[in-house]
Symmetry: C2
Subunit: 269 residues, 2 copies
Amino acid sequence: VDTLSSDRATSYKSGIEARHAARQEILTGPTAGFAAGYVQANLVILPQADAATFLRFCLANPRPCPLLAVSEPGERTLAKLGQDLDLARDASRYRVFRYGDAVEEPLAVDHLWRDDLVTFALGCSFTFEHALLADGIPLRHVASGRNVAMYRSNILLEPAGPFSGEMVVSMRPLRPADAIRAIQICTRYPSVHGAPIHLGHPAAIGIHDLAQPDFGDPVPVEADELPVFWACGVTPQHSLESAGLPFAITHSPGHMLITDLRDTQLALM
Amino acid sequence: VDTLSSDRATSYKSGIEARHAARQEILTGPTAGFAAGYVQANLVILPQADAATFLRFCLANPRPCPLLAVSEPGERTLAKLGQDLDLARDASRYRVFRYGDAVEEPLAVDHLWRDDLVTFALGCSFTFEHALLADGIPLRHVASGRNVAMYRSNILLEPAGPFSGEMVVSMRPLRPADAIRAIQICTRYPSVHGAPIHLGHPAAIGIHDLAQPDFGDPVPVEADELPVFWACGVTPQHSLESAGLPFAITHSPGHMLITDLRDTQLALM
């Protein structure tokens, strides 16, 4: 297993191949670019007592928290997302929270599984990035092998119980014609954050220095470009931390669950 | 007839009512806001010898020259646009060109009609403006009773025969979230110029002073807004002038042909 580095794992041809590799703890790293064309999902796993409130939170904030699927309590599979899928082992890495603090980043959470856990699978920006790249729109952070730049905005989320806070946004610099085309393409994908929520004028959403992202890597915005902002999947994880629940599990950032869904199947049309 | 001012004509409830008023020379002024909800069309009327080339020009430049309908040679009606429709009398005013010069602005052109004239009806921004306003997006030039600001851009048109030149663009200042929503709405309306072609960075399309439009009225862009640019229906008229054809007729700018089509019927979905 040690000799099979994640670099070699770029040969995964499908979601199920990647999931089996994750389950066997061969695939343990970030999943960006793996099983190209297959939908990758953010995971939030909560006790049933908190799940109903978190569901309300997602429905009230669909741009940062777009729901792909919700499991039955205790269920370790989600047929909507794939066959032979184990929610406790198939993400490449997990993050365990106790009272809001990340305490562990295990490769599986089967040892922590409980009959009352409800899993939320949320859409991920990889799907729309794939659609943008396929259309010929350049994404600088992808080309330069960086993480996307993410910022805490001043856009308040609709609160639900203990879940609240500000929307985290991701930023991609685009030339104006590409920004317009990106808005058109992303509008077709509401379940992976949908259209951008802002462009130009970063200060209008509380971002005062684009060179200092709160998460990810800085990406320069050239003189002929506009910063284009999308609601970001880091938002629910951020709200989860500040909610301080006794127990919660997510995927580890960037270490997603790869599904059997094709990216284009999430398009409205 | 004199006592029936165009102000009173705002009561026109439909395209056919407005056309009858134009035919009777009761409606003789600009048609903006008349017969609300009905599609208004730009007209270009050319001898058959030039029409095939102009048709190629429109097809090669669909954003500034979106075709709604093309008549048979000599035909004075266009069933696709409305019943009991007289292309030679139903626009509220016409403009006659000889060798590229506007020589006359008559209320009707039946005295100039020829058996070889082909009529092109092109989509008009009123349709998408109606859709934007209906969605709650403010349009400053409408609110302040001005003409939209229009500029000669440096975007070169695809030439066809004598027709060529630069695209004329209209500009509407919008806040970022409204600009994103406007792109979504206008994308549904390709036959009335479709999505914006540019936003922000006016100099990138050759516009160096927004306060000095080439046509229409200046409209201020506030600090929290972006200038959003659409391909403009003045473009074909501009290309027509520079082509210097011996004979051509258009509607007089702002004095459109009002059709029986509903604005929403032009939406793709």
